[in-house]
Structures are given as C-alpha cells and as structure tokens.
Point group: C2
Chain length 419, copies 2
C-alpha cells in the first residue's frame, strides 16, 4: 500500500491545529472569536484564508452571494465539494465553522500534492452561516440552494438599525443577484462537511467521531394559554382558571412525547401575565421547539403536543392557541455517503457512531439542492459551543482531519465510478 | 320592639349608595376611582367626608400618621371603632375601602340620632391602605398598631422618584412621629370593618354576606432552579438538566399541597433564562405565595413545598434555592365578635357563611394591636376588584349597611357588659 502511505505522509493534520490557532490570534480577543459575517474582522479572516492557498494550483472565485470557492481542477468537471464557514458568532469559539474550512484546505493540499486529480475538488467558505448580525442564518448556502427569498431578508436590520440589504452592499453583494449562486451547483457530485458536534453525545459515549445522518426537521410554535388572572389570596383553588397550570403540564408532557418518539422537544421560554407574586396567572405564553430526523415522527410529535395542550386546557378551564413560528423538514444525508463516512471513521479511530444533527448547518441547504451530502462530527467538550469555552481535544482534532481526508478519497472514487 | 323599629327607621342604607355614587362622580374618571393616597384627589375625597359629618356631634382629629378619627363621645370612654379607607388604587373600583367608611358614617348617624350613646363610637379613615404610590400598604393602620418601622419606609420612592418621606411631608406627616398614632389605641374595645369580598366565594354560594374569620398568614418566597442551558437540537432528552422541568413540577404540586391543607398556594411569576426558543432552560425563577388561616397549617404547606422542590430538583439534576420575600402570621378575629357578626348577618339576610380573608386589610393591623376585631364581607360580582369593573348588587349593599348596623348595636352592648 505504498500509494496510501504516500497520501498519509502528505496530509499534515497538526498543521490544521496550528492554522486554527493562528486564525484565533488574528481574529479573536479575550472574549472569543469575532469573525461575524459582514464585518471587517470577517474580511481579515477571509484574506488570511486566501493567503494560505497561494502557491497551490487553485482558482479563487467569489459568487453572487459572497461564498468563496477554491477550485482545484481535475480531469473531470464532476466536482467534490468540501464546505465550511469562517464566520463566527460574536464571542464565539475557535472551532465552529473554521475547523471545517481549514481541515478542508489541508485535504486539498494533500490532493494537490498528488498532481491533477481525476475529478475536480472545490472548497467553499459559505457567507454568513451564523446569521449573527441580522438573525438569519445560512445566507450564502441558501442562495446556493436557491431557497433564499430576498424579500424576506431585505429589511432585516442589525442592532444599529442598519438594513441587511445595505450592509451586504458594502461587501459588493446585491441581494437580488444572490440567488445566481445556484450556478455553482453545476457538476457538484457530493458535498462533505466536518463540524464539531456542539452537543454532548459523542463525549458521553467516549467517542472522538460520529457520522451525521442528516439534520432534524423542526417545528417551532408559540403557544398561549388564557385563563383568568385572580387574587392569590381571595380565590379558592377550585375556582381558579390557572393558565400556568396548563402550561406547566404541557412543559412536562412534551418531554415524554420526545422520549416516546425518539426526537427532542423543548419549552425554552415561559412568560406569565400579570406575572406578579400575588396573582393567579391569567395568561401564559410558552415556546415549543420539536425536532426529529423522520418527517412522520415529527408530525406525530406535533399532533401529540397539540392534543395534550387541548386536554390540559380543558382540565384547567382555560383556552389554548397555537401559532407556528417556523418549520423545516428533516434533511437526511446520502445513504451511500453515510456508509463511506462510517468506514472512514472506523479506519481512523476504530468505532463510529451515527447521530442526527440537532443544529442546522450549511449542509442542510446543500441537501435541498439535491446534492449527495454528508457530515462528520468531532466530539465537543461539555457540548459547549457559541462561547469561548468551546473546545475539542487536540488528538480528536487530528483524527477528524484524517477521517475527512479518508472520506474525501472514498468519495472521489465513488464519483469517478459514477462516470 | 318599638326601640328597635325606631333604630331601623333612622338608618338609611340607600343614603350610603347615593353617597358612594356622589364620591365616585367627585373623585373618579372614565378609568375608575383615582383616590390614591397622598394625592390631591385623595385630599378632595377626605374634605368631602368631613363635610358629611357637619351638624353631627362629632369631633374630628387627624393623628400623626394621617388617619382621620371621627369621634362621637359616649357616656363611657370605652370605644367601638368602625374603620375603612377612602384611598383607592389608580383606576380602582367604586366600593373598595370607601364602602366601609361611608357605611360606618351611616351607622354613626343612626347612633347619634338616638342621643349620647352609652359608649364612645369612633369612625377611622385609615391613611394609605392600598400603598398604591409607594408599594407599601397599611401605612396608617400599621402606625396605629405600632408595627411600622419608619426606616423601612423612608427611602421608598414613587414612579417619579419622589421619596415617601418627602411626599407625606407635603401632607404634614412626619414619618418619625407617625407611630405616635398608637395613642389612638387608648380605650378601644372593639373594631368593626365592612368590606367587599374581592373574591368569588360568596357569589359562587349565592350569599350576600359573610363573616370573616381573620386574615390569612402569608409565606412569600422566590425560588430559583439552576440547571444547564443547552442547545434544543443537539442535547438528547436524557442528558438535559432542565430547570423548567423542576419548576413546572413544583407549580403543579403546590396546588395539591394547598388543597390537601385547606389553604391557597400560587405560583404567579415564572422567568426562564436564557428564555429563547432554541435553548433548554438553564435557570428558572418562580414566585410562591402561600396563605392559610392556621399558623401550623401554613408552616406545613411551606415545608411540603420545600420538600417537593428538593425532590423535583434531584429528579431533574438541578439545584434549588429559596429566598423569603415576605411573611406575616395569620391574624384571627375575635371569637365572640365572629358569633355576633354571624347573628347580625342571619338577622339581615337569613344565611351566614364564614370565610377567611385572603387579602390583607387594616383590620389585620388592629388585631396586631390586640383589639378585638371583626370584618363583614359583602359579595363581589365576578370577584373583581382593583378595577373599574368592581361591583356589588345594590340590594346586597343595602343589606351590608344593615348588617353592619346590627353588628354595631350588638358590639356596643357587649362592650357595655364588660364594664
């Protein structure tokens, strides 16, 4: 296996860690990473990335949505995409998004070192995955997939009142042209993304790496229970119409619904009115977030929660009203790529685990463009992310670069075999 | 029974209703009553009340706490007190507090019409029962009972930042002299107060009048559950430390505790942090208000709630911390006066019901001064109070004045018999 050993020799996972630290020093401060999209620090990070590919046979192009494409042309136009996002949340961690890009760069270096590849390899740095400034995530990747609706974005404003449409104009992006980024779909045969887990599953299992099955479908609702505010002293228990009573019962029940159906359900916000110590709660607003990888199970969880809310409302003699905040269908990854990712992980660290992704990722938008997609997760310490405490063991980071590289090799062979 | 018939002839309950409407026209607006203590409208209401006693053999005195005393001197210095408060909350109802005063005035008129009474009769208009401007209720009556601590009040400010100590100075009240109002306790042998129920109990029983057994003891606490905020998508159900889970369980359990022990328990406020749709609740603050007429039962309810909170915290792998906001012991009314009030009601409307008072009243402060005390409740429509919708059927108001008058006659005889 001389060829394989040569490949391994060319890949330098330690360089990925060194470069991530270099990027942290350049674009972070005592509070963490500050590479918020459409800011000067983000521009600085992207310029740093462009410097890194100098000397490699790579073309650089920025598309109409601000995504940067690094293309290593192969013998075939068919392309394997590797993606990530160099933008961060304010006070973010040193790995979220940029690990993907920097590890992808390392894999491209290894491939380039072997001469013209049989197929084309493209690294993409998506613009504004986090949506930290305007509250709308997946900007660049949704332009790529064509799901972006410019009219929904046009009037979004940041905390200083600056409109998204004006802010991106400063970076030479025309909102009405952004969806022309869909032309980058041409010849794309597969999409790979490595990401930190941002959850506690792999750590709790003692595993460095996991295969991601897809991104959860999400149902997000605002639920209002309306009873009757009443004096906490003068109103006997049996004469109350306690909106909190029904809300509390539902907050507990949704956890059983999640366990029963194998998904997750969360009540994240409770607001009581009048909300004073001396009054029975007359109105209680809660939010419900439900996620599942299977569309039917997600629909079932939603129906069960609605039924339970009606039952509890009747028990408490209050009314209940649901309003959808947002929804997205489950976006499962490609079955063959899942198998290849599983192999790549087992070859790297011995044991693979398959898990869904709770958070959304740019990869979900790539699925919506009908491109075979896969993600790898590397363990997050304490499940922390979007905070400067975000971290992963260096030995796990080294393995993650190696697994991504193995997966790239397998994927290129898979694409070649399709021709 | 010629004497009794004469008395009834002299009492004119309809005049009480007419005068309440006159007061409403003078001191209310489209939003309700505006007789907030230590305001010009309050001064206007009190001047109106003074006008009403002109021509009667009544001395008027304002004590150091701003309470106004109307004294009809009798053959004995021993005094029966009848109390109320002409101050209201902003946008208040037309009965809360002023019914007590105006009905008391009618009873005094009836007594005065019969010549010098065997004992002294005093009507008191307490200053600032509601505490609407500075958030501290029972100002005048707590000065009378001597439980007021001036240092706790001095720096209270209204919404415009004006200090209580300065505001009351405008009304010639010196905070450090206020407790000299305790000298008004001299010779007080009983205290009577008529009040609207401000709750739904009498209406639900179809009864106009009730005997009040005393004011509830109150335990008021802030409870904080601390778990771990986590991503709603990436954190499996069994790995969560959900602060809301424990809070929701306690919110439901305290209702069972109340029913089991015959008191009332209310969670009136829930605050979740981070309080966003996509995060498991890391910290949940709730308020708990518990009330009971029996001190041992109140203590038991508190202990049961504390035990339950520890149990739920353990179940949810979160911590719990309690902080007392306020407490007051139960203040039971005088057993002999309870019997007399029961008789007075039965003679007036046929059926009496005994019930505790959930809200505090000036009468509770009079109990703390060790003066035999009793209250009558008249039905509130829909239990509403502290709102312009506050109302009571006029036929019930007429009966309430008559019952207070009968109770006054019985009480005077009781006091006389003690000499």
């Amino acid at each position: 296996m001389v060829e394989s050993e040569l490949k391994m020799a060319a890949l330098q996972p330690q360089r990925t860690i060194d470069e991530l630290k270099e990027l942290r020093a350049l674009t972070g401060d005592d509070d963490g990473a500050q590479r918020v999209a459409f800011t000067e620090t983000w521009v600085k990070a992207r310029a740093w990335l462009r410097e890194k590919v100098k000397g490699l046979p790579i073309d650089i192009e920025t598309d109409e949505a601000g995504n940067t494409w690094f293309t290593l042309r192969g013998e075939s136009e068919k392309a394997m995409l590797i993606g990530g996002h160099i933008d961060s949340v304010p006070n973010g961690g040193w790995l979220d998004g940029c690990l993907n890009v920097v590890a992808g760069l390392e894999v491209m270096r290894r491939i380039a070192s072997e001469g013209t590849p049989p197929i084309t390899v493209r690294l993409v740095d998506w613009a504004d995955e986090e949506g930290a400034r305007f509250g709308r995530s997946l900007f660049g990747s949704s332009a790529f997939s064509g799901t972006m609706n410019p009219d929904e974005l046009r009037n979004l404003v940041d905390k200083n009142g600056i409109r998204l449409v004006d802010a991106i104009g400063e970076f030479d992006i025309d909102l009405d042209q952004a969806r022309n980024a869909t032309r980058q779909q041409k010849d794309a045969a597969a999409y790979l993304e490595l990401h930190i887990e941002q959850g506690p599953v792999l750590e709790s299992m003692g595993l460095p790496l996991g295969v991601v099955l897809g991104t959860f479908g999400v149902e997000r609702h605002a639920i209002r229970f309306t009873g009757q505010s009443a004096h906490a002293g003068s109103t006997p228990m049996h004469q109350r119409r306690d909106a909190l009573g029904a809300a509390a019962k539902l907050s507990i029940e949704i956890r059983e619904i999640a366990k029963r159906n194998g998904g997750v359900c969360t009540v994240g916000s409770v607001v009581t009115k009048p909300g004073i110590v001396t009054a029975v709660v007359g109105q209680c607003d809660i939010t419900l977030d439900q996620r599942h990888l299977n569309a039917d199970s997600l629909a079932k969880m939603l129906q069960e929660a609605k039924d339970a809310s009606e039952r509890f409302a009747a028990e408490e003699n209050v009314s209940v009203e649901w309003n959808r905040i947002w929804q997205i269908r489950p976006l499962p990854f490609n079955p063959e790529l899942i198998e290849m990712a599983d192999e790549a992980i087992r070859e790297t660290s011995g044991t693979a685990h398959r898990l869904p992704s709770g958070p959304l990722h740019d990869a979900a938008e790539v699925v919506r463009a009908d491109i075979p997609t896969i993600m790898l997760f590397v363990q997050s310490l304490r499940g922390l992310s979007h905070a400067k405490e975000e971290d992963t063991l260096e030995e796990h980071l080294l393995m993650s670069v190696e697994a991504l590289d193995r997966l790239a090799t397998k994927t290129m062979a898979w694409i070649q075999a399709q021709n």
